[in-house]
């Protein structure tokens, strides 16, 4: 009888001779399929400074597309850690937009609303015989999860926001969901999460991260920009905080923990560009036939960045600042018929620090006059 070793040597010889006769070619296991590449490019065009998050989501999506994700559990369990304003929820929104064309195409559970054990009934419904049974529609149902499914894509996105605030009862549910991909509702109906990509976000370690960003207490210079070593410290701080707070059972069920980087000045500039491009798109869409455009001087861009961002809160306020100082003003110009089709509005900074809006040229009227 041949030993296992002899069998293995024989198989290896057979493989070598097959390679010699057929011609061997090396394979690249890092390549992505076309759909995944498009998905990844979509994310890269809209998400700034968070490459690790993009890589993690892309990997899960690729596994899902080729049906290689482990059966009988969710497609992926991702934990996003990081400072506020670094874009954790935004990544989920962009993933939803990439897959379903709508940023709201995911089910969001705000764990802060389930801090008491009895509040779990809002999530899964009350069991028969308990007060409220049949009266309140559970939040996490198969219908709610599958709401955005299409003929081509039967994938659901579930966001569990601020996971550290969940009650012990929610934790028990979560462990089951993350492990088996099954949730039993109060009505005994089962919800299948095996076609679901689960995102969990947490601000754990936020205070320590804030301390790192601000330079800590005492006579320490506050960092004006963010360097790589700061990101490493933030990663370490967030991961340690997660390990302190979350049980090993929970951590073992995660496929990937991603710590979001603090946005550097060059990232914030890219975020500003993206946000201004979105506003231009909105104006074009809203103005329809009578569309116009605008451009901001470099000084205005710097001013918007100063007003809308800071190392502690990232780009959280940037959208609001653009809305308040640019969009409202443009709407007032439209309301008073000061802009018309083809106009380009130049936005510059006046010496007193306020914004000046100047009509550069009305393309249509110049053409008409010519």
């Amino acid at each position: 009888m041949r030993t296992e070793l002899e069998n293995s040597v024989s198989a290896s010889r057979h493989l070598n001779s097959a390679q010699e006769s057929a011609g061997a070619s090396a394979l690249d296991a890092t390549l992505h399929g076309e759909a995944t590449r498009e998905f990844e490019a979509f994310l890269h065009a809209r998400i700034v400074g968070q490459g690790a998050a993009i890589d993690a989501v892309t990997e899960m999506y690729q596994m899902f597309l080729v049906a290689l994700n482990p059966p009988d559990r969710p497609v992926g369990n991702l934990l996003f850690l990081g400072p506020t304003g670094s874009g954790k929820t935004y990544v989920v929104e962009v993933v939803a937009e990439a897959l379903f064309g709508d940023r709201r195409a995911f089910l969001k559970i705000d764990c802060a609303e389930f801090q008491e054990s009895h509040e779990i009934a809002k999530l899964i419904g009350s069991p028969p015989g308990y007060v409220g049974h049949g009266e309140t529609q559970p939040l996490l149902t198969q219908e709610a999860l599958n709401r955005w499914h299409t003929e081509k894509l039967k994938l659901s996105l579930l966001l569990l926001d601020e996971i550290e605030k969940a009650s012990p009862a929610l934790w028990q549910l979560l462990l089951g969901i993350l492990d088996k991909g099954i949730l039993t509702l109060g009505s005994n109906r089962q919800v299948d999460l095996s076609q679901t990509l689960i995102f969990m976000t947490s601000n754990l370690g936020a205070a320590e991260m804030g301390g790192l960003i601000e330079g800590g207490m005492g006579f320490v210079a506050h960092p004006t920009s963010v360097d790589t070593s700061l990101d490493e410290k933030i990663t370490r701080t967030a991961t340690e905080a997660a390990r302190r707070k979350f049980s090993p059972e929970f951590m073992n069920r995660l496929d990937k923990v991603v710590v979001f980087n603090t946005l550097r000045p060059e990232h914030l500039e890219q975020v500003l560009e993206l946000e201004l491009a979105k506003v231009k798109q909105r104006i074009t869409h809203a103005a329809g036939q009578s569309h116009f455009t605008f451009c901001c001087s470099p000084e205005v861009n710097r001013w918007l960045l100063r007003e809308g961002t800071d190392p502690k809160y990232g780009a959280r306020h940037l959208k609001r600042v653009i809305e308040r100082y640019i969009v409202y003003a443009l709407a007032n110009l439209v309301a008073t018929n000061q802009v018309s089709t083809g106009d380009c509005i130049d936005i510059s900074l006046k010496p007193d620090g306020s914004l000046a809006f100047t009509k550069i040229v009305a393309v249509a009227s110049v053409a008409a006059a010519g």
């Binding site: 009578s290 569309h291 969009v327 003003a329 709407a331 007032n332 439209v334 008073t336 018929n337």
Partner: protein, 120 residues
Amino acid sequence: MKAVLFVDDNEALCRLTCDILRLEGYRAVPAYNAAEALKVFDEEDFDIVVTDMRMDGMDGLELARQIHNKNPQLPVILVTAYEPVSGEHVRECLAKEDLFPHLLEKIRLCLSEAEVRKAS
């Protein structure tokens, strides 16, 4: 989610304003003239109406009067590029040159007053 009906024959302004209102968390519905506004008003529920004063066909004051025939408690804000207008059917009047951010403040104020009235 509170619902706002915004009426203006300047379509660009109408859409842009509704866009801003949606970002502020309202359900905003545009109507490009008074007749269309009355039709939409009959089909959907609104918490407040904001209308331009001068429009072809029916002006904002007449629209406010007809809306109050259907729902006397509904706040109506009038916006105008001309002289301020007042009347029993107008809760607030806003100059178009000061539309933003004042419109958002006025809407918030009118809606919270309406809530208080409803509660009492």
